[in-house]
């Protein structure tokens, strides 16, 4: 009976062009996803099981492929920023910054100190928001539902900050080549300060709910082990790599946007299991809060944008009395700017790992090629290594622990 079922299953999968070739007759191939509540979007994992033990786990992706990188090639550099929001939709500011820094590298410009620091602050706010979604959904997968509500309560405050400055909660497109689209509004820093002051209490609560909980520990400790060599071989980065004990955080290793001015440390794990990834991300949240706090204290005065009118549109009040400003304004919004011929890649630390845009410019106003290094995509490749030999229920814990966003994987 089992073998017949197996054959049916295999035939159905083969018909869809998915090679399963089960190792032998005693194993069974089943689908997890694409519509599975714990696969964080539309990820499908084809599992080969021996009893309840996993022999192979193959992720199948592409269900939300939108060709978004291709469509970036038909937008001017300024407008292409809006596409980056929609890749990793949980860390929009950081995607914007990744694209922007790469373009700025091509142009050879950098915004003034206030612009830089405002960017750092937005990026850290985004990192916290992303990590809060991660802990909420990860724990929901493991059956700890309460955490979800408390984490989202805090995230709401962070999204409010994003909404105050940019006008929307999720897709700000606020970090653009040359600086930002606007300075912080009145009362923004006070709101941020209020958040920074109240956050430790909430974060401690989340930690208390989980770290001592025997059920959570049973489900996570020793699960999803991956060695350092395998991590490096597969290109794994971010918290998953740091949980394996590798001290690699782009913010420290290759500082950008002035991260070298901040006082923070990179938390590391030692056992490289799901529980360690949880601890590392929790510690990262404390560090992000620390950076936001330092930003509020140190925020310099001055401009946020560079003054080159060939790249950044002039301020609105100049439009009324300067013909030159009007010409620049029209030219920028219709044609945009032309970076010199060349290519560029600037790595950044996103909540998921190392992110960066590889941009090729042919001297026109649109990127000849824009390709993202998606950290979730690289990290997902480690899924099989982490799951083999474990129970099927562990797959859920492992997927949660590598923190993937399918919008970024498929693009």
């Amino acid at each position: 009976m089992a073998i017949e079922l197996q054959e049916l299953n295999t035939n159905a999968l083969n018909a869809q062009g998915i090679q399963v070739d089960a190792l032998d007759d005693t194993t069974m191939v089943i689908n997890m996803g694409p519509q599975h509540p714990s696969t964080h979007g539309v990820l499908r994992v084809v599992l080969e099981l021996d009893g309840e033990i996993i022999v192979r786990a193959t992720p199948h992706i592409g269900y939300v492929h939108t060709g978004i990188e291709k469509s970036m090639e038909y937008q001017t550099y300024m407008k292409a920023v809006t596409n980056t929001d929609r890749m990793d939709y949980l860390s929009a500011h950081i995607n914007n910054a990744a694209f922007t820094l790469s373009v700025e590298n091509l142009l050879g410009i950098a915004p003034p100190p206030r612009g830089q620091m405002l960017r750092v602050m937005l990026m850290e706010i985004q990192r916290l928001a992303s990590h809060l979604v991660w802990i909420a959904t990860h724990c929901l997968d493991l059956g700890a539902m309460t955490v979800y509500f408390y984490a989202f309560q805090q995230r709401e405050k962070l999204l409010d900050l994003t909404e105050m400055i940019s006008g929307v909660r999720m897709m700000p497109s606020w970090i653009v080549p040359g600086g930002l689209r606007g300075d912080a509004p009145e009362g923004w820093f006070e709101r941020a300060k209020e958040f920074v002051d109240n956050f430790p209490e909430a974060l401690e609560e989340l930690e208390n709910l989980l770290s001592a909980n025997p059920i959570f520990r049973e489900r996570t400790q020793g699960v999803g082990y991956i060695s350092v060599d395998e991590c490096l071989g597969l290109g794994v980065s971010g918290s998953t790599l740091r949980a394996a004990g590798v001290d690699y955080d782009v913010r420290k290793a290759k500082p950008y946007s002035g991260y070298e001015q901040f006082d923070f440390y990179v938390p590391l794990g030692e056992f490289s299991d799901v529980y360690d990834r949880f601890r590392v991300r929790m510690a990262e949240m404390w560090q992000s809060r620390e950076i936001i706090k330092q930003c509020i204290e140190k925020m310099p005065e001055g401009a946020i944008n560079i003054s080159d009118r060939k790249i950044v549109p002039p301020p609105r009040k100049e439009l009324d009395n300067s013909m030159e400003a009007v010409i620049h304004h029209f030219k920028l919004w219709t044609e945009g700017f032309h970076p010199p011929v060349g290519e560029s890649y600037v790595p950044l630390e996103s909540p998921k790992g190392e992110i960066g845009f590889y941009i090729v410019s042919d001297g026109t106003n649109r990127p000849y090629r824009a390709h993202m290094r998606p950290p979730s995509f690289m990290n997902l490749q480690a899924l099989s290594t982490m799951c083999v030999g474990r129970l099927m229920a562990d797959v859920v814990a492992v997927i949660g622990s590598i923190d993937i966003v399918l919008g970024e994987i498929d693009r």
Binding site: Q75, M78, K79, A80, T82, N83, T146, Y150, Q153, E156, D160, E163, M164, I165, S166, G167, V168, M171, S173, R181, G182, P185, E205, N208, L209, A212, N213, P214, P313, R316, L319, V326, H329, F330, W333, T334
Partner: protein, 178 residues
């Protein structure tokens, strides 16, 4: 398992449960006694706070004297990453004046299904005519209903500056005939 370890793990488990449920009950009590603000709201009776920069449904604004700010320059259409704005400009004449400049937008349409609310149109508009405001309840039944026209975007004019609807109809017919 020896009795010792059994007892120990039971006590540990009970302690962890106490911590966990303690937190849950504290939140429950806080909400019941209203010692902390409640984060959930009863939409649609209650609305959450919206901020001055909120980017939702577009509005075509007017000057205080009732003239439209839009001059039909199509820069918003050029700046739109979703290419969802269509502007058709027409000439103002001295008798039929819609905007202060030479031209005004005879047609102004946005396909709201394509719009991504990025706000670039607002940033690009040289006169500040198109702005994104706070109305976010945009659901509708058919796709056609999402093709918003100029009449839907235009701010209501101050009463005393209103042009009678019949005149506008006549002007539109004239423009169409041109």
């Amino acid at each position: 398992m020896s009795l010792g370890t059994f007892l120990k793990s039971t006590i540990d488990g009970a302690n962890a449960l106490r911590t966990g449920f303690g937190i849950t009950f504290r939140h429950y009590a806080e909400q019941q006694l209203k010692t902390k603000p409640v984060d959930t709201i009863q939409y649609p009776e209650e609305r959450r706070e919206q901020y001055p920069r909120t980017r939702w449904r577009h509005v075509l604004t007017r000057y205080d004297n009732g003239l439209e700010k839009c001059i039909g320059c199509s820069l918003c259409a050029g700046a739109c990453p979703a290419r969802c704005i269509y502007v058709q400009a027409a000439e103002n004449t001295d008798e039929q004046r819609f905007s202060p400049g030479e031209r005004y937008a005879a047609k102004y349409e946005i396909n709201m299904l394509r719009c991504i609310f990025c706000g670039f149109c607002q940033d690009a508009c040289p006169t500040g005519a198109i702005v994104l405001r706070k109305d976010f309840e945009l659901s509708d039944y058919t796709r056609e209903d999402f093709l918003y026209t100029k009449e839907m975007f235009l701010e209501a004019a101050p009463m005393e500056t209103m042009i009678p609807a019949s005149t506008i109809g006549a002007m539109n017919r004239e423009n169409a005939a041109k």
